[in-house]
């Protein structure tokens, strides 16, 4: 006899509301029904009504954890349509901003994963060390997460030489702590009992479902846009792409913690090798006709923006595909066959950012046309 356990939309395991209807027999899961759309805010419609500069600020606020990734993707697309290029020093500063964000996001994920399995001590310790990175972002660019340091054509503020020693000090302290945490996570018996061989995603499944980011890299899929389609300064900074073989929750946690160490190395190299020069190229505000796709390795995987411009100050259409949207279908094969106790940790292991995810598209089967449904239209449809 199947019994349905609702996870969400309001549930302590999820930070943002989504609905997973899990059918169980006893404690074993037999089916998962995923319903998204609770955080739909009509952002794509709003972006087509704002100029590119204002749209940049809105695009940053799609997500509360990865604003730099959204900026960089939007800028990659806009700068391609507008035909302008970012100067060298700005590219390096953008890289440093992106890597600092990757560190803070992975530490946030590690804390949430520890909280889901009941290990509150590790949760508090991870977030304590995350403050080292957030203090750096505040010192360099004025705000902890939505620091808006990138702008069309470059960056807004420079990294001054008297700020560099504090950056290096915090990064050294963080590196020591993260190495210790990798040791703890890999060896603690209770963590291994809860995370090893749980929520396994095989390499073939990851390829078939087009998983992206650390979720795919933990299953052995060796794909990273920073190396394979480089942007900012990634073609000049050497780094390794971290993969694991097992594809279980433990592999996903370890991939992200090791990526933190790689990011620290990238930042140190970028600070050393940063060239001088101007910080921005001028952007007049008008853009010629054209279309462009920008993609970036965000904290959670491949983030994609498509911009279609008919000339002028505002884009005609902006389409956003976030990494969590690509990773959600992998939740079903990971959950089926497991027990209810694993649901929070398996859901958390894809590092879901539902705020990024909800863009509803309605496909009309008769005519084959698809359009984006705005909030006003959804309300009308619901009456």
């Amino acid at each position: 006899m199947s019994f349905v356990v609702p996870i969400g939309p309001q549930h302590p395991a999820l930070e943002e509301p989504e609905h997973f209807r899990i059918e169980v027999k006893g404690e074993e899961i037999v089916d998962v029904d995923i319903r998204l759309g609770y955080v739909h805010r009509g952002i794509e419609e709003a972006l087509s009504k704002r100029t590119y500069m204002h749209g940049l600020f809105l695009a940053q606020r799609v997500c509360g954890i990865c604003p730099v990734s959204h900026s960089l993707t939007f800028l990659r697309a806009v700068e391609e349509v507008a035909g302008i290029e970012c100067p060298d020093r700005a590219r390096y500063i953008r890289t440093i901003g992106a890597e600092l964000e990757r560190i803070h996001s992975h530490l946030l994920f590690a804390g949430i994963a520890a909280h889901e399995i009941g290990f509150t001590t590790l949760f508090m310790l991870f977030w304590r060390d995350r403050e080292l990175v957030l203090d750096l972002r505040e010192m360099l660019w004025g705000n902890r997460i939505h620091s808006s340091e990138t702008t069309i054509g470059g960056v807004r503020w420079d990294i001054k030489p008297n700020q560099v020693p504090k950056v290096l000090r915090n990064l050294a302290a963080l590196e020591k702590e993260v190495k210790h945490y990798i040791d703890v996570v890999g060896s603690d018996r209770t963590i291994l009992a809860r995370c090893a061989n749980i929520g396994v995603l095989t390499k073939q499944m990851a390829r078939e479902l087009c998983a992206v980011g650390p979720t795919a890299r933990a299953s052995g899929v060796n794909w990273d846009i920073r190396r394979d389609d480089p942007y900012a300064a990634y073609d000049e900074v050497p780094f390794k792409v971290i993969t694991e073989r097992d594809g279980d929750v433990l592999a996903k946690i370890l991939v992200r913690l090791r990526e933190v160490l790689e990011s620290i190395r990238i930042i140190r190299h970028a600070l050393d090798a940063m060239p001088g020069g101007p910080l921005r190229t001028e952007f007049k505000g008008r853009v010629q006709e054209g279309e462009a796709t920008g993609r970036v390795e965000a904290n959670r995987g491949e983030l994609l923006y498509y911009i279609f411009s008919k000339g002028g100050e505002k884009p005609e259409r902006v389409r956003i595909r976030t990494p969590t949207y690509a990773n959600i279908p992998t939740v079903k094969p990971m959950l089926v066959g497991g027990t209810i106790a694993e649901v929070p940790i398996v859901l958390a292991s894809i590092d879901p950012c539902f705020a990024c995810t909800d863009r509803v598209t309605v496909v009309d089967r008769n005519t084959g046309k698809s359009k984006v449904v705005t909030k006003a239209e959804l309300r009308r449809l619901n009456k």
Binding site: H54, T121, L125, E138, M139, L140, N143, D183, V184
Partner: protein, 107 residues
């Protein structure tokens, strides 16, 4: 012996890493962007700040000087960046909670 045990015992002897806000406050860096204020003597009423504000949070009052509506402001700092006479500064004030958001205005 789990490796986290030593961490936990060491933490008992250290000073906590949290600060008892609001009795003690942490130090803010110089680039911190808090409430924007305008030096009315210096302002030349050019209108650029209202034009570049991403959220249209700046309007003009009777003397044609900018009025910042703090409920819409995203504290991005573009108004201060674009001002030709540098009369707008982003202060370090962040405790801006109020009972009536329509009165949360900075001049």
């Amino acid at each position: 012996m789990p490796r986290i045990q030593l961490d936990v015992l060491k933490n008992l002897l250290r000073k906590p890493s949290t600060v008892k806000y609001p009795h003690f406050k942490a130090e803010l860096p110089e680039r911190f962007r808090g409430k924007p204020i305008n030096d009315r003597e210096r302002c030349i009423s050019c209108g650029l700040c209202a034009k570049v504000c991403p959220d249209r949070a700046i309007t003009y009052d009777e003397e044609k000087k900018p009025r910042f509506y703090l409920g819409l402001c995203i504290y991005c700092g573009r108004c201060a960046e674009v001002c030709p006479v540098k009369s707008i500064t982003m202060t370090k004030e962040f405790e801006l909670a109020t009972y009536n958001k329509y009165e949360a205005v900075s001049k």
